[in-house]
Symmetry: C2
Subunit: 125 residues, 2 copies
Amino acid sequence: MASVDNPSETGGRVIAASKVSGTSVYSEAGEKLGNVYDVMLNKVSGKAEYAILSFGGFLGIGDKYHPLPWNQLKYEPRQGGYVINLSRDRLEGAPAYAASEMSVWDDLRGHDIDDYYGHGAGLAS
Amino acid sequence: MASVDNPSETGGRVIAASKVSGTSVYSEAGEKLGNVYDVMLNKVSGKAEYAILSFGGFLGIGDKYHPLPWNQLKYEPRQGGYVINLSRDRLEGAPAYAASEMSVWDDLRGHDIDDYYGHGAGLAS
């Protein structure tokens, strides 16, 4: 059962957007990489377009936020979190933004991210 | 340009899920009805399934939250908010939950809401 108070309860099909932040993100090998910091939604369709990830100290870039196209994340119920299949090198070279830059989001940033990860790249794994 | 600090800036295509709450909800006639309180996302697809609305004092049920299927909301850029085409009677009879009930969400609740509003009802307006 999904709980809006406890995002680690992950049995339900849906989760409150306000509580997606904090959900764990793992590598394919099961290593915990970080957490979801926020999700960017398309205002019209309601579709999640980008997951903004915080990797903490993992990449030595704890103060940066990495937006990934949503299709790069695969939900894994057993782990109660998302799995991403991206190498360390790939993540280190990815578009990332300081906390101070996260107060504003413009659509050009979306283009940079889409270009880096490739359009629909996450669909063919 | 969408701003995660200022959800009333609504020029952008996407908005941070954490800031959807607070977005205004209007009637077709342009009357402000309330605000989005939260959004329930499908964990796998990232699709918004329900918008949880808070109508404040409008219906005399200010302490209740009304989850609506996402397709009942139409984003209106000129107003910077969502428009719903539902009569007062329809809203008053709709599934609603006290704040104390919002800490847990189970999928049966989704069925109640879908049944009330009709599956895909919001698509044919």
